[in-house]
Subunit: 142 residues, 2 copies
């Protein structure tokens, strides 16, 4: 069966290595919305060996740290759902008290219309922040 | 400021150790909905040391494994949000194609009215499954 995360990057590529990639998602309501996408088509975290679980989470936490460094959000939201696309991917979402859904999850009822203002060079700032911390491990170019 | 997860277990206690606890949440639409709650009042995963991040995720993945063993769900959903209660807690949710929100996140638009049928002794089954795997580490009594 065709899988969109096997067939395309899934966003603007910011960082990658052999295990996974970090992309800036196209989510106009939530600038800075990152996804950490496993390169292999695997369904659940417990389908990975412990070493793979740990390595993937290190990248998720590096993405969280990069968002906190660049955007200083009020909260970080982390989620691995995959009900529609069962290929492991983590949503790493900077949340602001004035963002369109806060305090609801981004999948909940919208509260207001205007996204939180983000820097114009957000992708460059996030790419630098991810690379400077090696996305939690060894540094690789996107 | 008062925090509900500092002041109460947050559900039916299934397992605990010095770091965290696993509770069965009171979520009638989603029987088997677990929460892994850090005992300390900490806001973000990147506020924990790397060892604490790893130890907490090992319990999250043990909770996922216990749910898969007991309920064989169609998908597992994992999320750490905390917009309303900024005290680290992971939602570990068994999802079924016939559950009230599938394929939406549980925070999205409801699709149907009837929860997926679960065993009557679900808390006992989950407690046994968590303890048998030591919730990813050393086994402790709830």
């Amino acid at each position: 069966m065709s899988c969109p995360l096997c067939e395309s990057p899934g966003g603007t590529l910011l960082w990658q290595d052999a295990l996974c990639r970090v992309v800036l998602a196209d989510e106009p309501d939530h600038p800075g919305f990152l996804r950490v996408i496993l390169n292999a088509h695997v369904r659940e975290m417990t389908d990975l060996p412990a070493s793979g679980q740990l390595a993937l989470m290190q990248v998720v936490f590096a993405a969280e740290a990069a968002l906190r460094e660049v955007l200083a959000p009020d909260k970080i939201n982390l989620a691995s759902l995959g009900n529609v696309v069962p290929h492991l991917h983590w949503h790493v979402i900077p949340r602001f008290a004035d963002d369109p859904h806060f305090p609801n999850p981004v999948w909940g009822v919208k509260q207001r219309g205007t996204p939180h203002v983000a820097p114009l060079d957000l992708d460059a700032l996030l790419r630098t922040a991810l690379h400077s911390r090696g996305a939690g491990r060894g540094s690789k170019d996107a």
